[in-house]
């Protein structure tokens, strides 16, 4: 047995009682090494103390309480609201309601603004037509309008006769 095996047996003793063979080998080696002997005695004592530590107190109804908690958990999960319910609840909260109100006001304002813009465009178009009317020639030009129009309404045959007379 060597130092490494001694350490390995010490580590084993932390987890479980050594077998008779392991114990015999360890104590035989420790007997020839006073420092190891003292260490082993302390380790052995500590192992005994830790092994004798009592179990923590557990209520007899521990399992029942856990199962009740599981039951409550299952009920809580089944009680969870549906998506629509969650959306409805969300809308009932103050902040989202305010946000939606602001959004609605914004949409209405935008619609009103677009309407006003369209009205202004129509008015501008009307004004431009009026402006064109204002740029026409003097109304005096139209003084002989009816006579000139009548000229164009004379029968084509009259012109032909006049043309023939002029040619003679």
């Amino acid at each position: 047995m060597n130092e490494s095996e001694y350490q390995s047996l010490l580590e084993t003793s932390w987890r479980r009682p050594l077998t008779a063979d392991e114990l015999a080998r360890l104590e035989s080696w420790a007997a020839g090494h006073p420092e190891a002997q003292a260490e082993w005695e302390a380790e052995k004592s500590l192992n005994g103390l830790l092994a004798r530590l009592p179990d923590a107190p557990v209520a007899s109804n521990f399992t029942a309480q856990v199962l009740q908690a599981v039951e409550r958990e299952a009920k809580a999960v089944s009680r969870q609201p549906s998506f629509l319910e969650q959306v409805k609840r969300w809308f009932q909260r103050p902040a989202p309601r305010l946000a939606w109100a602001l959004l609605l006001v914004g949409v209405l304002w935008f619609g009103y603004d677009r309407h006003q813009a369209n009205v202004r465009t129509d008015v501008a178009k009307g004004m431009s037509v009026l402006a064109n009317v204002a740029s026409l020639s003097d109304p005096a030009v139209l003084e002989d309008f009816e006579a000139i129009q009548r000229l164009s309404q004379t029968a084509p045959g009259v012109d032909d006769e006049l043309y023939a007379v002029l040619n003679q």
């Binding site: 500590l46 005994g48 830790l50 092994a51 923590a56 557990v58 109804n61 521990f62 908690a69």
Partner: protein, 201 residues
């Protein structure tokens, strides 16, 4: 993974399918080891039991995510340790709050029944009781990792690899934690050990 060599993992797979009986079996089997760890991590016995119950509730809630990639006990004790650490952190932030506020759904739960407090017979010797108190006090003063490593190491249930997984460190680091913790315990208990009164029988 239709078959598993770990019977607890097989039970846990049944829990994953919604089998309450399998869950009850696991709770019955591991309530004591979990309580032993939690009880020695949190100073308050009543709150330790609340937290231990919460560990199992967490196991149930997380069952759908359970994969047989490690021993069930490693997974269970990782949950237990994480909840203990969360509670310790929470207490350091809000020292006046109780666990009831954390686990509000447990409000209607009866607190620990006094008649159930100990399921072992107290030794007839007062010396033994004093000894236990000294050991418990020395354990309580250890850093959390050293204490958890030593407590998990106490039985044959966990290998060093299992303990290392729970503590999220290497096997050599785990052994080092145990060694340092035990050295501290030996130092603190030295006066008593020297008298020979407490030496192993």
């Amino acid at each position: 993974m239709s078959t598993s060599p770990d019977p607890d993992a097989a039970l846990m797979l049944r829990v994953k399918q919604g089998d309450r009986d399998a869950f009850e079996e696991l709770v019955e089997k591991y309530q004591q080891p979990v309580m032993n760890l939690v009880y020695r991590t949190l100073p308050d016995a009543t709150e330790a039991e609340d937290l231990a119950q919460h560990v199992f509730l967490q196991v149930y809630k997380s069952a759908h995510r359970y994969e047989v990639s490690a021993k069930f006990t490693t997974w269970l004790f990782t949950i237990a340790r994480n909840l203990c650490l969360n509670e310790i952190r929470r207490r350091s932030r809000h020292p006046a709050d109780s666990l009831d506020e954390t686990f509000a759904d447990n409000e209607d739960q009866p607190i620990r029944q006094p008649e159930d407090v100990k399921n072992f017979s107290p030794p007839d010797s007062l010396l033994q009781s004093e000894l236990e108190q000294k050991v418990e006090a020395a354990l309580a003063e250890l850093p959390e990792k050293q204490r958890t490593a030593i407590l998990m190491c106490r039985g044959d249930e966990f290998s060093y690899e299992d303990i290392a997984k729970v503590l999220e460190c290497s096997v050599s680091a785990t052994k080092s934690l145990i060694h340092r913790g035990r050295e501290t315990l030996k130092q603190k208990l030295k006066p008593y050990l020297k008298t020979g009164t407490w030496t192993d029988k």
